[in-house]
Symmetry: C2
Protein backbone atom coordinates (compact mmCIF):
# COMPACT_ATOMS: atom_id res chain seq x y z
CA UNK A 1 0.00 0.00 0.00
CA UNK A 2 1.28 3.48 -0.79
CA UNK A 3 1.92 6.15 1.80
CA UNK A 4 0.24 9.54 1.60
CA UNK A 5 2.62 12.37 0.78
CA UNK A 6 1.64 15.96 1.52
CA UNK A 7 3.85 18.74 0.12
CA UNK A 8 3.49 22.44 0.95
CA UNK A 9 6.51 24.33 -0.40
CA UNK A 10 7.49 27.62 1.24
CA UNK A 11 6.24 30.64 -0.72
CA UNK A 12 4.11 28.66 -3.17
CA UNK A 13 0.33 28.86 -2.53
CA UNK A 14 -0.34 25.18 -3.22
CA UNK A 15 -0.63 21.85 -1.45
CA UNK A 16 0.19 18.70 -3.42
CA UNK A 17 -1.09 15.38 -2.10
CA UNK A 18 -0.21 12.01 -3.63
CA UNK A 19 -1.13 8.46 -2.68
CA UNK A 20 -1.04 5.14 -4.48
CA UNK A 21 -3.98 2.79 -3.95
CA UNK A 22 -4.00 -0.94 -4.64
CA UNK A 23 -7.06 -0.80 -6.91
CA UNK A 24 -7.82 -0.14 -10.57
CA UNK A 25 -8.47 3.45 -11.61
CA UNK A 26 -12.12 2.84 -12.50
CA UNK A 27 -12.87 1.72 -8.95
CA UNK A 28 -10.93 4.57 -7.32
CA UNK A 29 -12.75 7.08 -9.51
CA UNK A 30 -16.08 5.60 -8.48
CA UNK A 31 -15.13 5.95 -4.81
CA UNK A 32 -14.35 9.64 -5.45
CA UNK A 33 -17.52 10.30 -7.47
CA UNK A 34 -20.41 8.36 -5.91
CA UNK A 35 -21.61 10.30 -2.84
CA UNK A 36 -22.74 7.09 -1.15
CA UNK A 37 -19.16 5.86 -1.34
CA UNK A 38 -17.49 9.20 -0.60
CA UNK A 39 -19.18 9.56 2.78
CA UNK A 40 -17.73 6.17 3.78
CA UNK A 41 -14.14 7.47 3.63
CA UNK A 42 -14.03 11.29 3.44
CA UNK A 43 -12.71 13.00 6.58
CA UNK A 44 -11.39 11.78 9.91
CA UNK A 45 -13.16 8.86 11.56
CA UNK A 46 -14.64 10.99 14.34
CA UNK A 47 -16.81 12.95 11.87
CA UNK A 48 -19.96 11.88 10.04
CA UNK A 49 -20.49 13.35 6.59
CA UNK A 50 -23.65 13.79 4.55
CA UNK A 51 -24.07 15.22 1.05
CA UNK A 52 -26.63 17.96 0.53
CA UNK A 53 -25.85 18.37 -3.16
CA UNK A 54 -23.66 16.58 -5.68
CA UNK A 55 -23.73 17.41 -9.39
CA UNK A 56 -20.55 15.95 -10.94
CA UNK A 57 -20.71 17.79 -14.29
CA UNK A 58 -19.38 21.02 -15.77
CA UNK A 59 -20.80 23.88 -13.69
CA UNK A 60 -22.42 21.49 -11.21
CA UNK A 61 -22.25 22.29 -7.52
CA UNK A 62 -21.52 20.15 -4.48
CA UNK A 63 -22.02 20.65 -0.77
CA UNK A 64 -21.45 18.38 2.18
CA UNK A 65 -21.77 18.79 5.91
CA UNK A 66 -19.58 17.02 8.47
CA UNK A 67 -20.84 16.56 12.02
CA UNK A 68 -18.73 15.80 15.07
CA UNK A 69 -19.69 13.79 18.18
CA UNK A 70 -20.92 16.98 19.90
CA UNK A 71 -23.25 17.77 16.99
CA UNK A 72 -21.18 20.68 15.61
CA UNK A 73 -21.65 21.01 11.85
CA UNK A 74 -19.01 22.04 9.31
CA UNK A 75 -20.17 22.87 5.78
CA UNK A 76 -18.09 22.75 2.61
CA UNK A 77 -19.06 23.53 -0.95
CA UNK A 78 -17.71 24.13 -4.41
CA UNK A 79 -18.31 24.02 -8.16
CA UNK A 80 -17.09 21.49 -10.73
CA UNK A 81 -15.21 23.01 -13.67
CA UNK A 82 -15.46 20.63 -16.60
CA UNK A 83 -16.94 17.13 -16.44
CA UNK A 84 -15.10 15.04 -13.84
CA UNK A 85 -13.18 12.10 -15.31
CA UNK A 86 -10.39 9.82 -14.07
CA UNK A 87 -8.00 11.95 -16.16
CA UNK A 88 -8.94 15.16 -14.36
CA UNK A 89 -11.47 16.52 -11.91
CA UNK A 90 -11.30 20.27 -11.36
CA UNK A 91 -13.38 21.84 -8.60
CA UNK A 92 -13.39 24.77 -6.25
CA UNK A 93 -13.44 24.16 -2.51
CA UNK A 94 -14.64 26.49 0.23
CA UNK A 95 -15.00 25.90 3.97
CA UNK A 96 -18.10 27.80 5.06
CA UNK A 97 -16.45 28.64 8.40
CA UNK A 98 -14.14 31.10 6.59
CA UNK A 99 -16.13 32.33 3.58
CA UNK A 100 -14.25 34.06 0.79
CA UNK A 101 -11.21 31.80 1.03
CA UNK A 102 -11.54 29.58 -2.00
CA UNK A 103 -9.18 26.87 -3.18
CA UNK A 104 -9.15 25.18 -6.56
CA UNK A 105 -8.45 21.45 -6.66
CA UNK A 106 -7.16 19.44 -9.60
CA UNK A 107 -7.39 15.69 -9.09
CA UNK A 108 -5.72 13.25 -11.47
CA UNK A 109 -5.54 9.44 -11.44
CA UNK A 110 -2.94 7.31 -13.21
CA UNK A 111 -3.14 3.50 -13.27
CA UNK A 112 -0.08 1.26 -13.47
CA UNK A 113 -0.09 -2.51 -13.01
CA UNK A 114 -3.56 -2.43 -11.47
CA UNK A 115 -2.62 0.23 -8.91
CA UNK A 116 -3.72 3.85 -9.06
CA UNK A 117 -1.73 6.95 -8.22
CA UNK A 118 -4.04 9.76 -7.08
CA UNK A 119 -2.63 13.28 -7.15
CA UNK A 120 -4.44 16.36 -5.86
CA UNK A 121 -3.09 19.86 -6.41
CA UNK A 122 -4.87 22.52 -4.34
CA UNK A 123 -4.22 26.10 -5.43
CA UNK A 124 -4.99 28.87 -2.93
CA UNK A 125 -5.55 32.60 -3.34
CA UNK A 126 -2.45 33.30 -1.22
CA UNK A 127 0.31 31.61 0.74
CA UNK A 128 -1.48 32.82 3.90
CA UNK A 129 -4.61 30.91 2.87
CA UNK A 130 -2.54 27.82 2.17
CA UNK A 131 -0.76 28.09 5.53
CA UNK A 132 -4.13 28.52 7.23
CA UNK A 133 -5.32 25.27 5.68
CA UNK A 134 -2.19 23.44 6.87
CA UNK A 135 -2.55 24.94 10.37
CA UNK A 136 -6.20 23.77 10.53
CA UNK A 137 -5.01 20.20 10.98
CA UNK A 138 -5.92 19.08 7.47
CA UNK A 139 -3.00 16.60 7.46
CA UNK A 140 -4.68 14.41 10.06
CA UNK A 141 -7.87 14.46 8.01
CA UNK A 142 -6.08 13.58 4.76
CA UNK A 143 -4.12 10.70 6.27
CA UNK A 144 -7.17 9.21 7.93
CA UNK A 145 -9.33 9.72 4.82
CA UNK A 146 -6.78 7.84 2.73
CA UNK A 147 -6.58 5.00 5.26
CA UNK A 148 -10.35 4.72 5.20
CA UNK A 149 -10.41 4.85 1.39
CA UNK A 150 -7.81 2.06 1.16
CA UNK A 151 -9.95 -0.08 3.48
CA UNK A 152 -13.08 0.69 1.45
CA UNK A 153 -11.34 -0.18 -1.83
CA UNK A 154 -10.29 -3.53 -0.33
CA UNK A 155 -13.88 -4.27 0.62
CA UNK A 156 -15.19 -3.20 -2.81
CA UNK A 157 -12.66 -5.43 -4.57
CA UNK A 158 -13.66 -8.42 -2.44
CA UNK A 159 -17.36 -7.80 -2.97
CA UNK B 1 -2.84 58.42 -13.59
CA UNK B 2 -1.32 55.18 -12.32
CA UNK B 3 0.63 52.77 -14.43
CA UNK B 4 -0.38 49.15 -14.71
CA UNK B 5 2.01 46.72 -13.02
CA UNK B 6 2.01 43.05 -13.92
CA UNK B 7 4.02 40.67 -11.76
CA UNK B 8 4.65 37.00 -12.53
CA UNK B 9 7.27 35.64 -10.15
CA UNK B 10 9.32 32.62 -11.23
CA UNK B 11 8.03 29.36 -9.75
CA UNK B 12 4.85 30.86 -8.26
CA UNK B 13 1.64 30.01 -10.19
CA UNK B 14 0.14 33.48 -9.90
CA UNK B 15 -0.09 36.78 -11.77
CA UNK B 16 -0.59 39.95 -9.73
CA UNK B 17 -1.89 43.04 -11.54
CA UNK B 18 -2.21 46.46 -9.89
CA UNK B 19 -3.36 49.80 -11.23
CA UNK B 20 -4.49 53.03 -9.61
CA UNK B 21 -7.41 54.85 -11.23
CA UNK B 22 -8.34 58.49 -10.72
CA UNK B 23 -11.92 57.75 -9.65
CA UNK B 24 -13.79 56.83 -6.47
CA UNK B 25 -14.13 53.16 -5.63
CA UNK B 26 -17.90 53.08 -6.11
CA UNK B 27 -17.52 54.18 -9.73
CA UNK B 28 -14.67 51.78 -10.46
CA UNK B 29 -16.67 48.92 -8.97
CA UNK B 30 -19.63 49.81 -11.17
CA UNK B 31 -17.40 49.77 -14.26
CA UNK B 32 -16.27 46.26 -13.26
CA UNK B 33 -19.76 44.98 -12.47
CA UNK B 34 -22.21 46.42 -15.00
CA UNK B 35 -21.90 44.40 -18.25
CA UNK B 36 -22.91 47.43 -20.32
CA UNK B 37 -19.89 49.26 -18.91
CA UNK B 38 -17.52 46.29 -18.91
CA UNK B 39 -17.82 45.75 -22.67
CA UNK B 40 -16.72 49.36 -23.19
CA UNK B 41 -13.25 48.71 -21.74
CA UNK B 42 -12.53 44.97 -21.40
CA UNK B 43 -9.93 43.62 -23.81
CA UNK B 44 -7.75 45.17 -26.50
CA UNK B 45 -9.30 47.78 -28.78
CA UNK B 46 -9.31 45.51 -31.83
CA UNK B 47 -11.82 43.13 -30.19
CA UNK B 48 -15.55 43.56 -29.65
CA UNK B 49 -17.00 41.91 -26.56
CA UNK B 50 -20.55 40.86 -25.76
CA UNK B 51 -21.91 39.27 -22.59
CA UNK B 52 -23.98 36.09 -22.91
CA UNK B 53 -24.49 35.71 -19.16
CA UNK B 54 -23.68 37.79 -16.10
CA UNK B 55 -24.92 36.83 -12.63
CA UNK B 56 -22.83 38.78 -10.10
CA UNK B 57 -23.80 36.82 -6.97
CA UNK B 58 -22.53 33.84 -5.01
CA UNK B 59 -22.59 30.84 -7.35
CA UNK B 60 -23.63 32.98 -10.33
CA UNK B 61 -22.04 32.37 -13.70
CA UNK B 62 -20.66 34.69 -16.35
CA UNK B 63 -19.72 34.21 -20.00
CA UNK B 64 -18.55 36.65 -22.61
CA UNK B 65 -17.45 36.32 -26.22
CA UNK B 66 -14.84 38.51 -27.88
CA UNK B 67 -14.84 38.88 -31.67
CA UNK B 68 -11.94 40.08 -33.80
CA UNK B 69 -12.09 41.99 -37.09
CA UNK B 70 -12.04 38.69 -39.03
CA UNK B 71 -15.06 37.41 -37.12
CA UNK B 72 -13.15 34.88 -35.01
CA UNK B 73 -14.84 34.35 -31.64
CA UNK B 74 -13.15 33.71 -28.30
CA UNK B 75 -15.30 32.59 -25.40
CA UNK B 76 -14.54 32.96 -21.70
CA UNK B 77 -16.57 31.90 -18.68
CA UNK B 78 -16.43 31.45 -14.94
CA UNK B 79 -18.32 31.32 -11.66
CA UNK B 80 -18.57 33.94 -8.91
CA UNK B 81 -17.61 32.67 -5.44
CA UNK B 82 -19.27 34.90 -2.87
CA UNK B 83 -21.21 38.07 -3.65
CA UNK B 84 -18.96 40.54 -5.50
CA UNK B 85 -18.23 43.71 -3.55
CA UNK B 86 -15.63 46.49 -3.80
CA UNK B 87 -13.79 44.74 -0.94
CA UNK B 88 -13.46 41.48 -2.84
CA UNK B 89 -14.68 39.78 -5.98
CA UNK B 90 -13.67 36.13 -6.32
CA UNK B 91 -14.34 34.32 -9.57
CA UNK B 92 -12.99 31.51 -11.69
CA UNK B 93 -11.83 32.23 -15.23
CA UNK B 94 -11.56 29.80 -18.14
CA UNK B 95 -10.66 30.47 -21.77
CA UNK B 96 -12.79 28.08 -23.82
CA UNK B 97 -9.95 27.65 -26.34
CA UNK B 98 -8.05 25.57 -23.76
CA UNK B 99 -10.72 23.94 -21.60
CA UNK B 100 -9.68 22.44 -18.27
CA UNK B 101 -7.20 25.20 -17.50
CA UNK B 102 -8.96 27.24 -14.85
CA UNK B 103 -7.68 30.28 -13.01
CA UNK B 104 -9.14 31.85 -9.88
CA UNK B 105 -9.19 35.63 -9.65
CA UNK B 106 -9.39 37.74 -6.51
CA UNK B 107 -10.09 41.41 -7.21
CA UNK B 108 -9.82 44.02 -4.47
CA UNK B 109 -10.32 47.79 -4.55
CA UNK B 110 -8.91 50.27 -2.06
CA UNK B 111 -9.80 53.98 -2.19
CA UNK B 112 -7.45 56.71 -0.99
CA UNK B 113 -7.95 60.45 -1.58
CA UNK B 114 -10.59 59.81 -4.22
CA UNK B 115 -8.36 57.44 -6.18
CA UNK B 116 -8.79 53.69 -6.31
CA UNK B 117 -6.12 51.01 -6.31
CA UNK B 118 -7.34 47.89 -8.09
CA UNK B 119 -5.45 44.68 -7.42
CA UNK B 120 -6.10 41.37 -9.17
CA UNK B 121 -4.45 38.14 -8.06
CA UNK B 122 -4.88 35.28 -10.54
CA UNK B 123 -4.05 31.84 -9.18
CA UNK B 124 -3.39 29.06 -11.68
CA UNK B 125 -3.39 25.28 -11.38
CA UNK B 126 0.32 25.19 -12.25
CA UNK B 127 3.27 27.41 -13.16
CA UNK B 128 2.95 26.01 -16.71
CA UNK B 129 -0.64 27.30 -16.92
CA UNK B 130 0.49 30.69 -15.63
CA UNK B 131 3.36 30.83 -18.13
CA UNK B 132 0.94 29.88 -20.91
CA UNK B 133 -1.27 32.81 -19.98
CA UNK B 134 1.70 35.21 -20.04
CA UNK B 135 2.86 33.78 -23.39
CA UNK B 136 -0.63 34.30 -24.87
CA UNK B 137 0.00 38.02 -24.98
CA UNK B 138 -2.27 38.87 -22.05
CA UNK B 139 -0.05 41.82 -21.10
CA UNK B 140 -1.05 43.76 -24.18
CA UNK B 141 -4.71 43.08 -23.40
CA UNK B 142 -4.36 44.14 -19.76
CA UNK B 143 -2.53 47.38 -20.56
CA UNK B 144 -5.02 48.36 -23.25
CA UNK B 145 -8.00 47.38 -21.08
CA UNK B 146 -6.74 49.61 -18.30
CA UNK B 147 -6.15 52.53 -20.68
CA UNK B 148 -9.70 52.15 -21.97
CA UNK B 149 -11.06 51.88 -18.42
CA UNK B 150 -9.24 55.06 -17.37
CA UNK B 151 -10.78 56.86 -20.36
CA UNK B 152 -14.24 55.50 -19.55
CA UNK B 153 -13.94 56.56 -15.90
CA UNK B 154 -13.03 60.07 -17.04
CA UNK B 155 -16.15 60.20 -19.22
CA UNK B 156 -18.36 58.80 -16.44
CA UNK B 157 -17.05 61.40 -13.97
CA UNK B 158 -17.77 64.21 -16.42
CA UNK B 159 -21.26 62.91 -17.18
Amino acid sequence: MGKTQITAEAGIPQIVITREFDAPRELVFRAYTDPELIVRWLGPRELTTRYERHEPRDGGRWRYVSTDAQGNEFGFHGVFHGDPSPDATVQTFEFEGVPGHVAMETLTMVERDGRTLVRTVSSFQSVEDRDGMVASGMEHGVHESHERLAELLDRLREA
